[in-house]
């Protein structure tokens, strides 16, 4: 099922040329995108140019790497030189970066074929992709449902077979949640394993770039490629844990898989059952299931929102209509221009989070909110350290529910925030987490489970995920859309 390796084989064997392959993806995008709204910017010229370079190499009999010529996509918060990068916000309309994000630099140097930039919640703030200035991305399994968020465009494109894989970003679940909703694999790497340079920041201490793919081995291949130290990102150490691909198929007999009871609280029954079903698959594979408590998790969500919004309020201060992006048409003086530009350029959810972040950092509230949240962050990190004394990997649901119908998420902010309850602890603690499909609800919507690893323990969680995929291939599905391989 390894889509990347399948494409690689096709290209190497000459079954089709890279240009033909790319063209078929572009054709499918044209057909599917009006309904999926996965892409906000398709880049056929770029894609064909890269494809032709690969064909040239093949024609010359040169060897090509695994990712060469594989059509893919980037979330629209990853900077692409000369190609509009908007974070799906009005305030960045027309902005064309003058540099490439490090991850894109790496993939470009490997002749990745970028088909275009994909949809997301505005500035990655949301869980349904519906805060996008360009409207939400739809779920390829059922287009009455959202693709999830914030990397909804990537998961919609990958699930809908209009990209072989994509890179998203995950601040509080933005890779894993939409992957779970769309029935694909999403890896949020350890904080500091992938360079953030060129990722337009939402919350700097939580953001991390990772792959959304059709299979576990694809996630492994892409992660191994993009995880490298970067002298432009002080917080990036690279792939400290080593390559994940070689150990994917390792025996997991004796592996201790932990389940924290708190993760199962408040989770819909069908989701809980699917996760517990997966635990049984693991037992059958020889792993040992260990139950424990992680009571501190009940504070994870407020801690996450305080820290994320505080950092966001600072990160988003720079959008002032002077250096790039949108600028208001009529104003009276510089201060007025900045306020108007920001008020007109940001959507409601972004403004709400900026205001909340400003509030928790402001004089008189800093200690009660931001400082306290930072302290609790330390406590949560330690709680995970202790948990990993009892187990190798933690198994949890990715989201307490399946993809909601469109329009459902926008009403109540706090209710929407609650959908992040299973994903945010990983970001707070900087740990790796991968969402893997583990079943369907009664309406056929995918359910995802999450495997959480120790810091820089990507190899271990991908190993566990791969073994599950091998044992339960029926949980992975294709949709009616897109390129058939």
């Amino acid at each position: 099922m390894g889509t990347i390796s399948k494409i690689h084989e096709m290209l190497v064997s000459g079954e089709c040329s890279c240009a033909e392959l790319t063209k078929s993806y572009l054709d499918e995008i044209e057909k599917a995108n009006p309904e999926l709204n996965a892409y906000v910017n398709v880049t056929p010229d770029e894609a064909m140019r890269a494809a032709q370079a690969v064909d040239k190499k093949l024609a010359a009999g040169e060897e090509i790497g695994m990712l060469e010529g594989v059509p893919m996509t980037l979330k629209d918060n990853l900077s692409t030189k000369g190609i509009e990068t908007t974070c799906c916000s009005k305030i960045l309309t027309g902005y064309k970066p003058i540099f490439d994000a490090t991850v894109w630099e790496i993939l470009k140097s490997r002749n990745a074929v970028m088909l275009g930039k994909t949809n997301m919640d505005e500035f990655a703030m949301g869980s349904s992709c519906e805060t996008s200035y360009f409207g939400g991305a739809m779920n390829p399994v059922n287009t009455n449902h959202v693709a999830g968020g914030s990397s909804g465009g990537v998961s919609s494109a990958v699930g809908g077979n209009i990209a072989a894989y994509g890179l998203g970003s995950d601040t509080g679940g933005s890779i894993r949640q939409p992957a779970s909703f769309c029935g694909v694999v999403g890896l949020k790497p350890t904080y500091g394993s992938v360079s953030r340079y060129g990722l337009i920041a939402y919350a700097s201490s939580l953001d991390q770039i990772g792959p959304i793919t059709k299979s576990v081995e694809d996630a492994s291949i892409v992660f191994d490629a993009i995880s490298a130290p970067d002298r432009r990102d002080s917080t990036c150490k690279g792939n400290v844990g080593g390559a994940t691909y070689p150990t994917l198929d390792n025996d997991i007999k004796g592996m201790k898989i932990g389940i924290a009871r708190e993760y199962l609280d408040g989770v819909r029954d069908d989701v809980r059952e699917a996760v517990l079903e997966a635990a049984k698959v693991y037992e059958a594979l020889g792993a040992e299931i260990v139950y424990f408590d992680l009571p501190i998790l009940k504070f994870a969500l407020p801690v996450y929102y305080i820290i994320a919004c505080a950092e966001a309020s600072s990160n988003l201060g720079r959008y002032d209509g002077i250096r790039y992006g949108y600028k208001t048409a009529h104003y009276n003086g510089t201060h007025d221009m900045i306020c108007r530009t920001r008020s007109e350029g940001f959507g409601e959810e972004v403004k709400r989070r900026i205001l909340l972040g400003t509030y928790v950092l402001s004089a008189g509230y800093y200690d009660a909110y931001y400082k306290k949240a930072q302290n609790l962050r330390g406590t949560i990190v330690k709680a995970f350290d202790r948990a990993f004394e009892q187990c190798d990997v933690i198994l949890a649901p990715t989201v307490p529910m399946t993809a909601f119908e469109k329009g459902h998420a926008v009403s109540d902010p706090i209710e929407t925030y609650l959908t992040d309850i299973c994903t945010v602890p990983v970001n707070i603690a900087g740990l790796p987490g991968v969402s893997v499909p583990c079943g369907f609800n009664s309406k056929g919507m995918p359910i995802g489970m999450q495997l959480i690893g120790k810091s820089f323990g990507e190899a271990q969680i991908l190993n566990a995920a791969y073994k599950y995929q091998q044992a339960a291939p029926d949980k992975f599905m294709d949709t009616k859309w897109g390129v058939r391989l």
Partner: protein, 92 residues
């Protein structure tokens, strides 16, 4: 308690305009989110707090000049520019 004045103040700090008619509903909504954030005060937190996620230290760049970008590139995305400067035109 989040007050209207609080919201006005943070809006000013955030450089965002809040229309008078939205002030009450926004104050209300902020209050709800703050109530939710207040949950954390029920927790006992370690006092030593949190440094950075991987406890990294001493990451530096060396003091060697790398050529800057051409000014056209720097100004490429500016909504307005003049004489190689970013410009905020305030004349009507």
């Amino acid at each position: 308690m989040v007050t209207r004045e609080d919201v006005e103040n943070i809006a000013l700090l955030s450089k965002l305009f809040v229309p008078e008619e939205e002030l009450d509903s926004l104050t209300q909504s902020m209050q709800e989110i703050i109530n939710f954030a207040d949950e954390i005060n029920k927790a006992d937190a370690d006092e030593e707090g949190f440094d950075n996620i991987n406890n990294l230290s001493n990451v530096f760049h060396e003091d060697e000049v790398v050529e800057s970008y051409p000014v056209e590139e720097i100004l490429k995305n500016a909504p307005e520019q003049a004489e190689d400067h970013f410009l905020v035109r305030n004349r009507e």
